[in-house]
């Protein structure tokens, strides 16, 4: 049964990579990147069960957090043009 789930995740990874390469805007790529992060976490968990050692799920937690950090870093750059911006108000450039 884990084989079926693994295959499904691999198929979705392939489709998402296609979108990441095609995606006309940067944001399309980011959507794909975020979903690829999720798919990678699930793949890690399923492969753990598939090989009979599902103990490495801590890495999945790290991935989830890093995925959020990576996405937010790019987006913060986009909205404020600066990673060190304190946020708060919209830029009034």
């Amino acid at each position: 049964m884990f084989v079926a789930a693994t295959l499904a995740i691999l198929v979705s990874l392939v489709l998402l990579v296609v979108r990441a390469l095609k995606g006309p805007t940067v944001f399309d790529r980011l959507v794909a990147a975020n979903s690829i992060g999720t798919a990678a976490i699930l793949l890690l968990a399923v492969v753990g069960f598939l090989t009979g050692r599902p103990e490495f799920l801590d890495i999945g937690i790290t991935y989830a957090l890093l995925n959020l950090i990576g996405t937010l870093a790019v987006l913060k750059y986009f909205r404020f043009g600066d990673l060190a911006h304190s946020g708060g108000e919209e830029p009034e450039d």
């Binding site: 790529r29 990147a33 990576g70 790019v74 043009g81």
Partner: protein
């Protein structure tokens, strides 16, 4: 099944690499770099290197992305069109690749246990780790105990790199500002 997952992920890595090479918008390249790191980390998990996968994900998708974005803020986003023809680099790369592919025929096949690599010191650590150090994670025990000086050298490298970055980016005695000031004075006079 493991081999199949491995092959699919590696193919995706290659496809993403093509995208990284071809795209000229550096933002898109950095985002693809993040995807590349996640896929690479998944490959490493399938290849049983869990510690390396964790480090690769945090360094590749985390720190590298943030560092590159910070630098990109100070420079231009769009890469200039190449002036030179890419034929010579393509030729060099192709020849290098061909020679290396020729070399792979002499390498042992993937996944075998009786290769030279898997019969020497690496596997000895597996037997020695628990009696010597009591740490079940062999990577940790080798990294911190058997090859502790190696790790010390590594931290020295990181320290040196940090000092190097600090010296490069120090604001006080910026050569660039002096130079620019000189140019301004010259243009005024």
């Amino acid at each position: 099944m493991e081999t199949f997952i491995n092959m699919v992920l590696l193919t995706l890595l290659a496809v993403i690499t093509i995208g990284v090479v071809r795209l000229r918008n550096l933002f898109a390249v950095i985002i693809l770099g993040g995807i590349y790191s996640f896929l690479m980390a998944s490959v490493l998990i399938v290849l049983d290197a869990v510690d390396v996968a964790m480090t690769e994900a945090s360094v590749g998708a985390g720190i590298s992305t943030v560092l590159m974005l910070t630098v990109l803020y100070m420079t231009r986003v769009e890469e200039a069109k190449p002036v030179h023809s890419p034929m010579l680099p393509l030729f060099v790369a192709g020849v290098t690749g061909a020679v290396l592919v020729y070399g792979t025929w002499g390498l042992p096949a993937f996944g075998l246990a009786d290769t030279p690599l898997n019969n020497h010191v690496g596997m000895t650590y597996m037997d020695l780790s628990i009696p010597d150090t009591g740490i079940p994670n062999v990577v940790t025990s080798v990294l911190a105990s058997y090859r502790g000086f190696d790790t010390l050298g590594e931290t020295t490298v990181v320290f040196t790199a940090g000092i190097g970055v600090l010296l490069l980016l120090r604001r006080g005695v910026s050569v660039a500002r002096l130079r620019r000031k000189q140019q301004e004075e010259e243009s005024k006079s």
